[in-house]
């Protein structure tokens, strides 16, 4: 036991540091909030007992002013913009905060006579709104449901009740459904197209079978980006397909930047992942069984449904899960061949991570994506078992 564990240790350590830990840390951001509490500690504390309905009292305003003054002094000293970062986080909850927080911080630096509440309200009427304070309380951390709710098009109001976001802001449930739907379509199409060719590879002999297998293996080895590029060249307005259509007097058609192009290219890219497990399943099938069923008088469709299909089911399931998992995570192909409403979950993860400083949301969407993948892997484990890790 000891020595084998020692042999795996370097690899496990490597993966722990370069893979598991970074992903864990990233996903952790989806359920936590760490930007606002360091900047507004007293405000967050003052809001714990607040009812969430009326504008908070003088104590909360005083805490806000004290917090902002300290944070501004600290930011000036260290050169790290903690206020803009807190503002960015609050802005994701309540648009307008990106300007409101730094502006308020600038204006409260001057000494204030009398009520802090009146002084802050004079800076902006936004501070009268309970939802403004609700956003700060929601972002107070350390644990937070905000990003997870957001990824499901839900939000919590200042009083604490959860409801759907207005229709014109809802987007993620649609994206999730779209991703599942595209992946399902691609999987079904792969099964439909993969079955005949896998059957022939498994049952035919000699050169034809080898050629068919080569036709599956070659694209399998060719880079995804090359195959996506090939489809872009084919489907362009002035591309191969439209030129051919033009020669017979059709088109030109808009074949790119739509759902059709995305699904077509994804089927092309993922088809080998369906064919190879199917071939394995069909090869493992005892040809005598269907023949026996037929000789006992079963009609061909009955033989297929009652004998062939059940025997191959694990292989079919494995192929489907393999294709579905990969389809769910697609990024490059939809980005290049699809329009804005053909983008899948992966695109939004990338978007919120690099084009909008919203790592919490990117992480929450990733959790969603990983959960879907995890379910599929569990299913695969049930179907194919983990003993044989499959063909590489």
């Amino acid at each position: 036991m000891n020595r084998p564990a020692l042999l795996t240790a370097p690899l496990l350590l490597f993966l722990l540091i370069t893979f598991v830990a970074p992903i864990g840390a990233f996903l952790w951001r989806g359920v936590t909030d760490a930007e606002v509490a360091p900047v507004l500690p007293r405000t967050v504390a003052a809001l714990v007992s607040w009812d969430g309905a009326a504008t908070p009292d003088e104590a909360a305003f005083a805490a806000l002013v004290a917090d902002l003054r300290d944070a501004r002094a600290r930011d000036r000293e260290t050169g790290i913009g903690s206020i803009p970062r807190a503002a960015a986080r609050l802005n994701a909850d309540r648009p307008g905060f990106r300007g409101l927080l730094p502006m308020t911080a600038r204006r409260v630096e001057a000494s204030i006579e009398g009520s802090m509440r009146d002084a802050v309200l004079a800076i902006s009427e936004e501070w009268r709104d309970a939802e403004t304070w609700g956003a700060i309380r929601r972002a107070g951390g350390p644990l937070s449901a905000f990003h997870g709710l957001m990824a499901l098009d839900l939000r919590q109001d200042a009083a604490g009740s959860i409801r759907a976001v207005p229709d014109d802001q809802a987007v993620f449930r649609a994206v999730l459904m779209r991703s599942l739907w595209i992946s399902l379509t691609v999987t079904a199409a792969c099964l439909l197209l993969g079955w005949p060719i896998a059957w022939m590879i498994a049952t035919a002999k000699g050169l034809p079978a080898t050629l068919l297998l080569a036709a599956v293996m070659l694209p399998f080895w060719i880079s995804l980006i090359v195959r996506t590029a090939a489809w872009m060249v084919l489907l362009q307005r002035e591309g191969v397909v439209n030129a051919a259509l033009g020669a017979v007097g059709v088109g030109p058609l808009a074949l790119m930047m739509n759902r059709f192009a995305v699904v077509l290219a994804m089927v092309h890219i993922l088809l080998p992942f369906m064919v190879l497990p199917l071939v394995a399943a069909f090869r493992g099938l005892d040809p005598r069984l269907p023949r026996a069923a037929a000789s006992l008088g079963a009609a061909p469709w009955r033989v297929f449904l009652r004998v062939t299909l059940p025997l191959c089911l694990p292989g079919i399931g494995a192929g489907c899960v393999l294709v579905f998992i990969q389809a769910l995570g697609f990024y490059v192909t939809p980005a290049l061949l699809g329009g804005p409403n053909d983008q899948m979950l992966a695109w939004f993860v990338g978007f919120y991570a690099t084009r909008s400083v919203n790592w919490g949301l990117a992480a929450a969407l990733s959790v969603m994506l990983l959960a879907a993948v995890g379910l599929c892997v569990a299913l695969y484990g049930k179907l194919a078992g983990f003993r044989r890790p499959g063909a590489a």
Binding site: T18, I225, Q236
Partner: protein
């Protein structure tokens, strides 16, 4: 009758798989700049463009260098680990296997963003080191799976025989086991290399302009303006893939012969 129909469909599907790749290859030899047929003439101008531009050739070298380094690292870590997993049983093996195979199933976008955020503060973004580490992590499962498959055909009794003859465990591994599973190890390294050569998303997120790989440069080219230089780059990658496929097939034949 049914079988005839199946044949027709199977051949059509094979064509569907091959046609797009076959269709773009001749375009890269066009003397014109259009992306359709018939070709106005043949020339190597797009390849000349590929080999003289400021971007494409360095990208090819980056891809090869990062691929070799990542495959080397993955093989170095993956081969002993596979050997360990082969001799292991029980819950620890299942967990270790899960960790090792995880890079195969976790969507690469999640890995890319996680690495961007983890590598950023420690200065590994836009470095060769960062990209090699990331690609090695992606390649590891392929090495482990392939080596494990090769070990299936290796009889552990030989190790006991070796130790009975006085060889230490390390010596036994290197002199008895490794020569027999070498084709599997090499195939695993090639799978890892191919994984790195194919990878776009992580390169997009954590590579800098100095580490541009060929797939990343192609992504930028496709996003910007599709020129036939991109088709030439595609042809270069196809050529590389075919070579890798042939090597793996040769190794597999050797691996079977060794048994």
């Amino acid at each position: 009758m049914t079988r005839g129909l199946l044949w027709v469909v199977a051949v059509l599907v094979a064509l569907f798989l091959l046609a797009p790749i076959i269709a773009i290859l001749p375009l890269s030899f066009s003397s014109g700049s259009f992306l359709f047929y018939p070709l106005p003439g043949l020339s190597l101008r797009w390849y000349a463009d590929f080999f003289t531009s400021d971007f494409w050739l360095p990208a090819l070298w980056n891809s090869l260098g990062i691929g070799v380094a990542a495959a080397g690292l993955a093989t170095l870590l993956g081969t002993p680990a596979a050997f360990g997993l082969w001799r292991m049983k029980g819950a620890f093996r299942a967990i270790a296997m899960g960790v090792v195979l995880a890079p195969m199933v976790v969507p690469v976008i999640v890995v890319a963003v996680a690495l961007l955020l983890a590598f950023g503060p420690i200065g590994l973004v836009a470095t060769y080191t960062g990209l090699v580490i990331a690609h090695a992590a992606l390649g590891v499962p392929f090495v482990v799976v392939t080596v494990l498959a090769a070990l299936e055909g290796f009889d552990p009794v030989q190790l006991r025989a070796a130790s009975a003859c006085g060889a230490g465990p390390l010596r036994a591994f290197f002199r008895v086991c490794l020569p027999q599973i070498a084709p599997g190890v090499a195939a695993g390294a090639i799978f890892a290399f191919a994984t790195s050569l194919d990878e776009v998303v992580i390169a997009l997120f954590i590579a800098g302009p100095a580490q541009r790989t060929l797939p990343r440069q192609m992504f930028a080219g496709l996003n910007d303006s599709i020129s036939l230089t991109t088709a030439a780059a595609a042809a270069v990658l196809v050529g590389l893939s075919v070579v890798l496929l042939l090597v793996v097939m040769w190794l597999q034949r050797r691996g079977q012969a060794a048994r």
